[in-house]
């Protein structure tokens, strides 16, 4: 398993234009599979436009303690892109005035940003209805300085969404690295201990499942049932909801698909599972994504592909929610990942 990001390895796929060339070429260029824009046009969904803004997702840095094989961020310990306090201040003024009901902090491991706690404390004052931090769990056990994070999250009523690819050690460690499973279990037990994820608790703890390979996620409700039973029986762990998220063919997952000769089959599977009902609710229609350096994107995936919003406003310093709503969403073939089957978003299925 790799211990460095594609960027650090100088892998060609660290270049976004190389990734886009693959997504626009090959089986799509030859006409074997339809371009996403043509597919959504056939079901009357073009141009794709935003609906009401509900979620403001802020990526506060690509640094992470893990190097997961499927990571669409290409995150890792070697990534130096970290949001500064100055950019955080710009974000805070947006958070205080936004009409969005959900604030979603992500990374990398957001906890590794040196100003993370300050930002959470300040952002929590804005009184946003749902304040999410996406935690990879192992960070809570990575170093003593993080051990009190469950209490810190509780104090600020933060909603935790954590990755957990499987309820068995083998599958988890294969995707996320040796020892990740045991650390994640310990972190979940600690979150439970302070009240997170318990039945009836207002301290929300949700898990994210994404497939550990070149296949699509199964039925979210059935997976949730299996996860709940196994984690309760084996480790006495409880959580609220499981979100099944499809891996999008970008960054390290794209690299894996190509290296394992699964790329074409995977794209076929995504296109075959195209669901026009999912298109109605794709997350780019209710979300805005902000990068560590303040640029604005339709979603975190577009951020990683360097596809900024198609709008006069492209940076948080000039943020204007009304103006930003008047835009066409930027799409490419990776978008098939969000419209396959029951659909996929950072909040799980969309249908």
């Amino acid at each position: 398993m790799a211990t460095k990001s594609l960027k650090e390895r100088h892998n060609a796929l660290a270049e976004t234009n190389k990734q886009l060339a693959i997504l626009n070429g090959g089986i799509f260029e030859s006409g074997e599979l339809p371009y996403f824009k043509d597919k959504i046009a056939a079901t009357g969904h073009t141009p794709l436009r935003p609906k009401k803004l509900e979620i403001l997702q802020i990526n506060i840095g690509y640094m992470c303690n893990q190097v997961c094989e499927h990571c669409h961020v290409d995150a890792g310990p070697d990534r130096q892109e970290i949001m500064t306090r100055e950019t955080m201040r710009l974000c805070l003024s947006v958070i205080q005035n936004t009409g969005a009901h959900t604030l979603d902090l992500t990374g990398g491991a957001p906890e590794m940003n040196p100003d993370f706690r300050w930002f959470v404390e300040e952002a929590a004052k804005a009184g946003i209805q749902d304040f999410i931090v996406r935690s990879n769990l192992t960070i809570l056990r990575a170093n003593k300085k993080y051990y009190d994070l469950p209490e810190f999250f509780k104090k600020h009523n933060v909603h935790i969404i954590s990755s957990m690819p499987h309820y068995t050690r083998g599958k988890t460690d294969k995707q996320r690295g040796e020892g990740v499973f045991d650390k994640s279990i310990k972190a979940l037990q600690e979150l439970n201990a302070v009240g997170y994820g318990m039945p009836g608790s207002s301290l929300r703890l949700d898990l994210v499942y994404n497939p550990s390979g070149a296949f699509l996620p199964g039925d979210q409700a059935a997976m949730e049932r299996d996860f709940k039973k196994a984690l309760k029986d084996d480790f006495d762990i409880q959580f609220h909801n499981l979100f099944a998220i499809t891996n999008l063919p970008i960054a390290r997952f794209l690299d894996y698909l190509i290296a394992s000769e699964n790329y074409e089959d995977y794209m076929y599977a995504l296109v075959e599972a195209y669901n026009p009902i999912a298109v109605e609710n794709v997350m780019c229609t209710n979300t805005l994504s902000v990068s560590w350096d303040g640029w604005l994107y339709d979603c975190d995936f577009n951020q990683m592909l360097g596809l900024k919003v198609a709008n006069k406003i492209t940076h948080i310093k000039a943020y204007d929610e009304a103006m930003l709503q008047d835009r066409n969403i930027v799409i490419s073939q990776h978008c098939y990942g969000c419209t396959a089957g029951a659909g996929s978003s950072c909040q799980g299925v969309v249908t």
Partner: protein, 129 residues
């Protein structure tokens, strides 16, 4: 030199042979739906039935997937093995569970063979003094 060249050419030809001259092409699996084109009514009935069979019922979709995997091995259907290995992964089924299912299929096949041993014993006894 010439020998090496001709060996390389031979391997090249062999590779082409194996790629083009085969009864089973993995890419045919995704064309399965096209059987409906030559008999729409029956094809549609089959796929509707097939879809209903695999829905959650008294058995979970997960249990059905494992049964399908075992049967796929028993009937030695390469398309079905590909399809239900992938389906199992999608449903979070572990490799240990999958292999146990294959052994269930194999045990039934072995049993079906061996139980005929009783017929052999009967016949042997009948013909022997």
């Amino acid at each position: 030199m010439n020998v090496i060249l001709s060996v390389n050419a031979l391997f090249k030809n062999l590779k082409i042979e194996t790629m083009t001259n085969t009864y089973y092409d993995p890419a045919d699996l995704r064309k399965f739906g096209s059987i409906t084109e030559w008999s729409e009514e029956l094809g549609k009935k089959f796929f509707d039935y097939y879809g209903n069979v695999f829905e959650e019922g008294a058995l979970t979709a997960r249990e059905k997937s494992l049964i399908a995997l075992a049967v796929a091995h028993v009937v030695k259907c390469p398309y079905c093995i590909d399809a239900y290995t992938k389906d199992g992964l999608e449903k979070g089924i572990t490799k240990e569970e999958m292999m146990e299912a294959v052994h269930v299929g194999a045990a039934i096949v072995s049993g079906a063979t061996l139980v005929h041993g009783v017929q052999m014993m009967n016949k042997y006894n009948k013909l022997s003094m």
